[in-house]
Amino acid sequence: MPTLTTGAHPAVRPRLLRGQAGREDRTAYEAAGGYQPGLAGAGLIAAVAASGLRGRGGGAFPAARKLAVVARQRGEKVVVVNGEEGEPASVKDRWLLRARPHLVIDGALRAAQAVGAGTIYFYVSDAGAAISLDAALAELASIPADLRVWPVEASYVAGEETAAVNALNGRPAKPSEKPPRPFEAGVGGLPTLVSNAETIASLPAISGGRVGEAPSFLLTLSGAVPRPGLYEVPFGIPLGEATEVLGGLAGPARGYVMGGYFAGLLSTRGHHLPLDYDALRAAGSGLGCGAVTVLGADDCPVGVAALLLAYFGRENAGQCGSCFNGTAAMAGVATALACGEAGPAEVARLAHWSGFLPGRGACATLDGAAGVAATLLREFPAEVDAHQREACGTCVATDFLAAGRPFALTPDSIAPPVEAAL
């Protein structure tokens, strides 16, 4: 696993990142202005709407609408802070929970107040995050809500919002068919706000009126860059600026894997695309959870797509037939292509599935897998053509049977788990 660094883009006054190493305790958080009174209730929700904050787990759903739909329901409600971070190439949520637990708790208390919830669950799969949260909660004397840390076994699908609700309800951490969505019937059947840890961590600054004209987000930048790491960057900077100014790459990359794995592959044209939800979506890519992996000279897009599709084939929930069949079929063709054993008929089938399968699963896993196939074919047609004649040297040297998690990261180098620090 690569050693990561942290840093902020020069145009950003960081509100999420913190320079000092180690867990920020309550004293340090309060000294930095935490847990102060600020906008609350409907006023906070209006400020969230004005800030344009969207769900940072990858769905990019407007945060204020999610808050408002829970807030307007009567009776008991629940908040779930989703720190499960199933995308292997992302570290931001685990970093936040390990390094800045009070920022997340502060945001969660504000969210619970705004929607009228008395119970908050911190849903995490990272042991270091759970330990950090427990330590932070022990530092708080009186808390105006019932706060519980809820560990779950890590998996790609466990972070999906209905999977989180199912796990909290004592069932396997797998997604359900919608409707109902958690805001209609969530934990214990109650209206439930499930919100990503970074989204929640954005609330204290909004509540305190400290979100300026350049809202920022956490970018996990890794792959073929000299300085892989976790960076706080403004929305809208070109991807190439992020990789060169922050990552230190001298010149355009061979390509990118976007949004963790979820938004698939992107060619060198990504160099000029802005890191912005709508601009990337319009370009057929996506920001997702904000994880970008840079592909270098040693990476083959065809081989990468095969490895990603094999991952989706293994890590899907095994529930929807279109998904467990479709991911396996796409992985099979992509692997055959990488091995130089697929021709035009197989590539045509891959193209068909990439267009037909999206929307045919209860969650978005199948959409992500189909997107990997679609973006491979669209962004790297020359490489796809070449592999129909023979496998490239990189692919020949790749073990496509190894059950890997390509470009997976851990936050250990920038937020060591508490045990390791003792």
Binding site: E177, G321, A362
Partner: protein, 71 residues
């Protein structure tokens, strides 16, 4: 009438698509989804209600349910 197809329950018998081909589409492995443009959130066109109900009753694994009317 609103119907919901739970694809985590569907076992690919394909009865639904034979009873109501305008409501359900199958993938090449036989697993169903609602046809594009239809949703559990919206009422079915009236002419599709009767075949959809037939599909609901004939699904061997009860993957299709009628959604309760709200208010």
């Amino acid at each position: 009438m609103k119907i919901k197809l739970d694809r985590t329950v569907c076992d690919g018998f394909g009865k639904c698509a034979s009873r109501a081909p305008a409501v359900f589409s199958l993938d090449e492995w036989g697993y169903a989804s609602l046809e594009r443009g239809l949703s559990a959130e919206a009422d079915l066109p009236p002419e599709l209600e009767q075949p959809a109900r037939r599909a609901l009753l004939d699904c061997p694994v009860h993957a299709i349910t009628e959604r309760p009317r709200v208010r």
